[in-house]
């Protein structure tokens, strides 16, 4: 447990010592939110389009910030730190777990400011709603972070990993209901979104903000399963497989 906590502390210290990374992951979704929210502001009959976008944007912030988890694994490998950890007595779950916990905490912390703004845009929301939505963001971060770590284990180049993650993440996000509304979208898009785990998490965050999370057990259950699957994938990959020497 001590190993897990020290590695988690290290991840957080590294993030704090590189503030540009935090700013850059926040900046893009905020810009998308502002521009799309303003551009499509009049397309919703009732309510603010920006408020409709908020949970989806928070999910995007989380997804983009968790890309960094895999990047940090590749970086650890290149700088030599990872090899020292892998031959230490510390269990591999501590390595995967610390990175996922850091991804969860930092992803949720970056997503929460967006959720806090939502009530100001005329949408509902309460303190409890924000807290519950933050938990959903944490689950989303762990899920995406877990699959990101799994992918990063097999990819040596941080550029290659980043490109691959963007190819996976952006369609997942675009095919969720983050931007479109079921009433106006094409039917096939609505069907695809129903089997998209990112949509389960977005729906859960939305329901948490509206105070209706209890009536969305399927979405919440799906999001929890998504997080469990990501965690297991990461622990299994990092735990069982020796990485072949490159030298």
């Amino acid at each position: 447990m001590n190993a897990f906590l020290m590695l988690l502390k290290r991840e957080i210290v590294r993030m704090i010592r590189r503030p540009s990374q935090l700013v850059s992951t926040l900046a893009m979704p905020v810009m998308i939110w502002v521009f799309i929210g303003a551009g499509f502001g009049g397309t919703m009959g009732e309510g603010s389009f920006a408020a409709h976008l908020a949970p989806g944007m928070a999910i995007l912030v989380v997804m983009l910030s968790t890309i960094m988890v895999g990047m940090s694994l590749i970086e650890d490998r290149h700088m030599g730190f990872l090899q020292g950890v892998l031959v230490s007595p510390a269990p591999r779950w501590a390595v995967a777990g610390s990175k996922l916990a850091a991804a969860g905490l930092l992803g949720a912390l970056q997503g929460v400011p967006l959720l806090l703004i939502t009530p100001l845009l005329g949408s509902g929301g309460s303190f409890v709603g924000v807290v519950l939505a933050a938990v959903v963001l944490l689950l989303t971060a762990i899920a995406i972070g877990g699959f990101g770590l799994t992918l990063a284990w097999w990819i040596d180049s941080s550029r290659g990993y980043h490109g691959m993650m963007m190819v996976l993440i952006m369609p997942l996000w675009l095919l969720s209901g983050s931007i479109f509304t079921p009433e106006t979208a094409a039917r096939w898009l609505v069907v695809v979104s129903k089997v998209n785990p990112v949509e389960w998490c977005r729906l859960s965050a939305d329901a948490a903000m509206d105070g209706t999370l209890a009536s969305s057990p399927l979405a919440l259950g799906g999001c929890v399963l998504f997080a469990v699957a990501g965690t297991l994938a990461a622990i299994r990959t990092l735990g069982a497989t020796p990485r072949t020497s490159t030298g």
Binding site: M6, L7, Q83, L86, V87, S88, P89, A90, P242, G247
Partner: protein, 316 residues
Amino acid sequence: MSESVLKVENVQRLHKTKQGEQVGVHDVSFAINAGDWVTLLGPNGSGKSTLLRLISSADWARQGEITIVGIRVHPGWTTRERHTVRAALGVVFQSPSLDPLLTIEENLRTAAALLGTSDAAGRVDELMDRFAIADRAGDRVGTLSGGLKRRADLARAMLGSPRLLILDEPTTGLDPEARLSLLDTLNGFKSLDPAPAILHSTHLTEEAERSDRVLFMDRGRLAADATPAELRAGLGDRTLKIEGPEARAWIEAHDLRASFTESGHALLSLTEPELERVMPELGRSGLSFSVGPPSLADAYASIVGRELNGSSGGGA
């Protein structure tokens, strides 16, 4: 008699390079006792790093057995076995296993937590004092010189008082002064109680000269295992090295015995009277040659049949 801290028996691990060539280690066997300093000497690509990765359990041997402190290293080991073996190891890789964004002290405390060291703070302070890095404890590793980084990495590897210290080309990138200082530090470990066994890889003969035993590695195979003195002993009083493709013809014409490297150089191990006899004629031949006391580089070339790339030992 000392117990074997490490036993390597008929170990094999091959992998394909991007060019499709099979590289790795083939059928390697040796053992190291507590307190021994053993050097793996060989050029780049001779299998040293692959072997050290197998011993440090960063990868698994496909054939053969590696036993550390009496426990076999294999993928199916129990949690207790894994913990016992890894706690008995201190590993210094070619690039330091330190986080450049953390300070020296933060790095060592993280490493102590990974090891499960009791009284981590006291142990970290003790090692920072011993390796003379205490005054830079608060500096980020990314800002340190190569020599300081290496000292900090060695302190990290020694945190758990390892029974076996593995060093993969630890002097890479160090200036001569820092290199000598590191070798002196390794030599100083012999006075520790208990003294760790040291397995150290290098392609530099002057580093290998400092160790108790030298293992010659060539294309993944173990070509020799002896003390530096024993390896040089077969080379006579002086080593004569004749360069160029004409060397073979000259040697055959004079009925001399020599070993030839892949690059065509001839190596002759001669007694002083033999040397005095051949020198006048060799001088008149116009061939390029050098004479010197036998070195490990000569022994390597003589046994393996090719020269040690990057070795600064030349015997002339």
